[in-house]
């Protein structure tokens, strides 16, 4: 094994970064998604568990108003567009493209954070009214925390693309950030259905 004369595999010509599942950062992001996804799934399970133990549902409240939640769902789904374009720009090493689409994405983000505030007000129940209120506020609150931290992550990355210094792996970061933004949007869909339609259908 330590024979100085044995041939070796020379890796100096290999690339110094790579996208998607080739990148360790992708696996790290996937791990985060597994964890957060499990938290969401368990909170949804808690919602159904509490439902199964109650005679009426929502317990002593009206269901949440549909307007803001549905509007936010639409805004979030639309934000997939700049998100996707930012990802593509990153994979093409297109710095102006990344800058543009990250800014557009951040604007969408501000919009859905603002609407989220309205959603909380339109839940028609307080977190300390009863267990239904507690679980609904927790579901919405957990998702909001993810939205806000993802927005902040994206902001930091966006600023970096204006100030530099950049290197190859920053373009991988853009790609992974987009993947996480997708996660935040797609996990919203089952949560939306549970909060807004669970109160009506169950």
């Amino acid at each position: 094994m330590n024979d100085a004369r044995a041939p070796s595999i020379d890796v100096s010509g290999l690339p110094s970064f790579a996208f998607s599942h080739r990148s360790p950062m992708w696996w790290g992001t996937l791990g985060m998604m597994a964890i957060e996804g499990t938290v969401f799934a368990l909170t949804v399970a808690t919602y159904f568990y509490l439902r199964s133990h109650s005679d009426t549902w929502p317990m002593t409240a009206r269901p949440p108003d549909l307007l803001w939640g549905t509007l936010n769902t639409a805004i979030m789904l639309l934000s997939a567009v700049p998100n996707h374009l930012a990802k593509r720009a990153g994979e093409r090493y297109d710095v102006p493209g990344v800058r543009l689409w990250i800014i557009v994405g951040l604007v969408f983000g501000l919009a859905f954070i603002a609407v989220r505030v309205m959603e909380f007000a339109a839940l028609n129940v307080r977190w300390d009214s009863n267990a239904y209120g507690s679980v609904v506020w927790t579901l919405l609150g957990l998702h909001t925390v993810h939205m806000v931290t993802d927005w902040a992550d994206t902001l930091v990355l966006g600023v970096l693309f204006f100030t530099g210094p950049l290197e190859g792996k920053r373009f991988v970061d853009v790609s992974e950030n987009s993947m996480y933004w997708y996660f935040v949007v797609w996990t919203w869909l089952p949560i939306y259905l549970v909060i807004y339609w669970g109160a009506r259908a169950l």
């Binding site: 100085a4 070796s8 696996w27 977190w127 950049l166």
Partner: protein, 654 residues
């Protein structure tokens, strides 16, 4: 100033120019040693990102918590040594057993396994560091601060006192006033975050940072066990984080998750906790199985028998462990048919463990034994764990469980499986790998004394507890009346406990003395086959001056065929660079520049601690605490021009 956006590559003497490939002793090897060295000095102590440095601190910290938990138990056993004792009263006793369980489960058992993994895996896999080195450092600091917080609270008489699994409503706002349970619940947040971060580090290291040629089919069984454990962590830990967060919310802001009067349910806590709690014990047990698979081949002088069956058994155990949790709730009023299902699965999980035991016995039977201390600890597993597994089958049966649940029978069972299945293998692993991480051999004589005192002490301490449970003694009692028929068994148990403690103490003495003046250890003192034995004891800071190429499951026993490449060359020697390989076949894929030492993980952990501790007292801490945390996190992420220039000198697009 008009600075270019994409950093231009460093030039001249700032540019990395040396490449690895030449053997130890060369200029390139010396450059590697310097490149991967830890930063010196007082401030430098807070900055290392070397996995071995972090792991050594982490191991010492977890062992300190182990000792603390043991001392708590020593006081408990003193109190129970005779009936109607008044060494401690009920309030202190309740804190003692809660702190004992909490320390052992959250501050020792899972973290120690993860940290031995973060030390050994890069060596075993043939790479220079774990994936995400700064996250690895952060995980240590966060763990340390969480454990310290809990013990500081305990020393101020604010230690938790509702048991390590804190059932509501006893742990809820009405029956557990003050901040005791809040400190417990928030300690969970600290330690679960640490464990989750380490799980991501371990999974990514195992998948992406193996030596070329180490296909998944050649992955060491210890690595398989840590891979499986880490996946389990990702899916199990969130349950306890959610449960404890809901508990803090019930206590702090008036939610009603667990309040039956407002639609909540006391059993919701139990479901959420045990959905985590059952996999948790397998998080402790499965790495122990990994230790056995690392030690047995070396001391039986042959590769493990039944590698594929062993891997599949690990995976099966992991999956099944998520389907057992209701067996902790058999005494509640859940539907009987449902309980029956959990009986069946709880018995079923014995099968993959049995397969592993039979394969190890087959390996030992057909091998040639080197009866050194590591093997002794491993052999104790077959006695202690198997006995614990048998009582586990008994507990799996609903009718039997209804008699022995919440009695000393369960205390006996859990200690037999955890100490037999994890602590004895851990001690074996400790004796096995001590020469590697310290460069010195431990004393065989003292090792044997320690082993026998531990083995005899353990059985004397815990076997009588089976009988105590059957004779009617419940758990978590600060005293018992004389004349119940429990007196002698308790006294015997106490004597055993102190004998066990003495045995453990001897191993500590052995470790300290050997670290200072033990016989110097060669690279491979036991004749082992996995890659950690292919490098010096202790390893160079870069682990391998030349990253090896692997051709078998035991690379040291199966050297490269003549003419085949034996190692990797071409990675930078004067910049931290490492090789990323493909997931299935470990083909070289690309190079990656590694982070240099940094204070940001430590500072982020301090900020996180402020956020978590603040939110025990006020929910607004989430808001201002997040701002405080955001600052060091941005510092952590933000690249410096020098770093970027150095990386750009090595840059090549895919």
């Amino acid at each position: 100033m008009d600075r270019p956006l994409v950093e231009p590559p460093a030039r001249g003497s700032d540019a990395p120019r040396l490449k690895d490939g030449p053997p130890p002793g060369s200029a390139e090897a010396r450059a590697l040693d310097e490149t991967w060295a830890d930063p010196p000095g007082f401030f430098g102590w807070f900055c290392p990102v070397n996995h071995k440095t972090i792991a050594k601190r982490f191991i010492v910290t977890t062992l300190a918590f182990f000792a603390a938990g043991g001392l708590l138990a020593a006081v408990m056993r003193a109190q129970l040594s005779r009936p109607e004792n008044n060494l401690v009263g009920p309030d202190m006793y309740n804190q003692l057993f809660t702190m004992h369980g909490t320390t052992m489960m959250f501050l020792f058992a899972v973290p120690v396994m993860q940290t031995v993994a973060t030390y050994m895996l890069p060596l075993m896999l043939g790479t220079r560091n774990v994936a995400f080195p700064r996250m690895n450092a952060y995980a240590y600091w966060i763990f340390l601060f969480g454990g310290l917080m809990l013990y500081i609270a305990f020393f101020f008489n604010t230690g938790p006192d509702a048991g390590w699994f804190a059932y509501v409503p006893l742990s809820g706002p009405q029956f557990a006033p003050g901040k005791r349970v809040d400190f417990w619940a928030q300690m969970i947040t600290f330690t679960e975050m640490s464990a989750l971060v380490e799980a991501i580090v371990i999974i990514t290291t195992i998948f992406k940072f193996r030596a070329p040629g180490m296909t998944l089919n050649r992955l060491p069984l210890f690595a398989w066990s840590m891979l499986v454990t880490s996946f389990m962590v990702l899916f199990a830990m969130p349950a306890v984080m959610l449960a404890s967060t809901a508990l803090i919310m019930d206590r702090l802001i008036g939610t009603h998750f667990y309040n039956p009067a407002e639609g909540g349910d006391a059993l919701l806590w139990q479901h959420l906790f045990w959905f985590f709690g059952h996999p948790e014990v397998y998080l402790i047990f499965i790495p122990g199985l990994g230790f056995l698979s690392a030690i047995i081949p070396t001391f039986a002088r042959r590769p493990i028998f039944g590698y594929t069956a062993m891997v599949l058994s690990l995976i099966a155990t992991a999956f099944l462990s998520f389907g057992l949790w209701v067996h902790h709730m058999f005494a509640t009023n859940l539907p009987e048919l449902g309980k029956g299902f959990f009986t069946a699965v709880s018995m079923l999980i014995a099968i993959p463990s049995a397969i592993q035991i039979y394969c190890w016995l087959a390996t030992l039977w057909t091998g040639r034994l080197n009866l050194k201390t590591p093997l002794l600890f491993v052999l104790a597993f077959f006695f202690i764990l198997v006995l614990g597994g048998m009582t586990g089958l008994m507990l799996a049966s609903v009718p039997l469980d209804l008699q022995v649940h919440d009695t000393y029978f369960v205390v006996a069972h859990l200690h037999y499986v955890l100490i037999g299945g994890a602590v004895f293998p851990l001690f074996g692993a400790f004796y096995y790998w001590f020469p590697k991480f310290s460069g010195r051999m431990m004393s065989e004589g003292l090792g044997r004394w320690s082993f026998w005192l531990m083995f005899i002490g353990f059985n004397l301490a815990f076997f009588p507890m089976h009988l105590l449970g059957l004779h009617g003694m419940p758990r978590r009692v600060y005293t018992y009346q004389a004349g119940m028929g429990w007196d002698n068994l308790n006294l015997a148990s106490t004597i055993g406990a102190y004998t066990l403690a003495l045995g453990i103490f001897l191993s500590l003495v052995n470790a300290i003395r050997s670290a200072r003046s033990g016989e110097p250890a060669p690279a491979d003192p036991w004749g082992g086959g996995t890659l950690e034995w292919a490098t010096a004891s202790p390893p160079a800071t870069c682990n391998f001056h030349r990253v090896p190429v692997v051709y078998g499951r035991d690379p040291v026993w199966e050297p490269p065929p003549p003419g085949a490449p034996a190692y990797v060359s071409g990675l930078a020697a004067d910049s931290r660079e490492q090789l990323v390989t493909t997931v299935l076949d470990a083909l070289p894929d690309h190079r990656i520049s590694y982070p240099t030492p940094s204070p940001w993980p430590f500072l982020s952990a301090v900020a996180t601690t402020i956020l978590f501790v603040g939110s025990i007292f006020t929910p607004w801490a989430i808001v201002w605490g997040s701002v405080i945390v955001a600052v060091p996190l941005v510092g952590w992420f933000w690249p410096t021009r020098r770093e970027a220039a150095e990386h750009m000198a090595l840059e090549k697009q895919p």
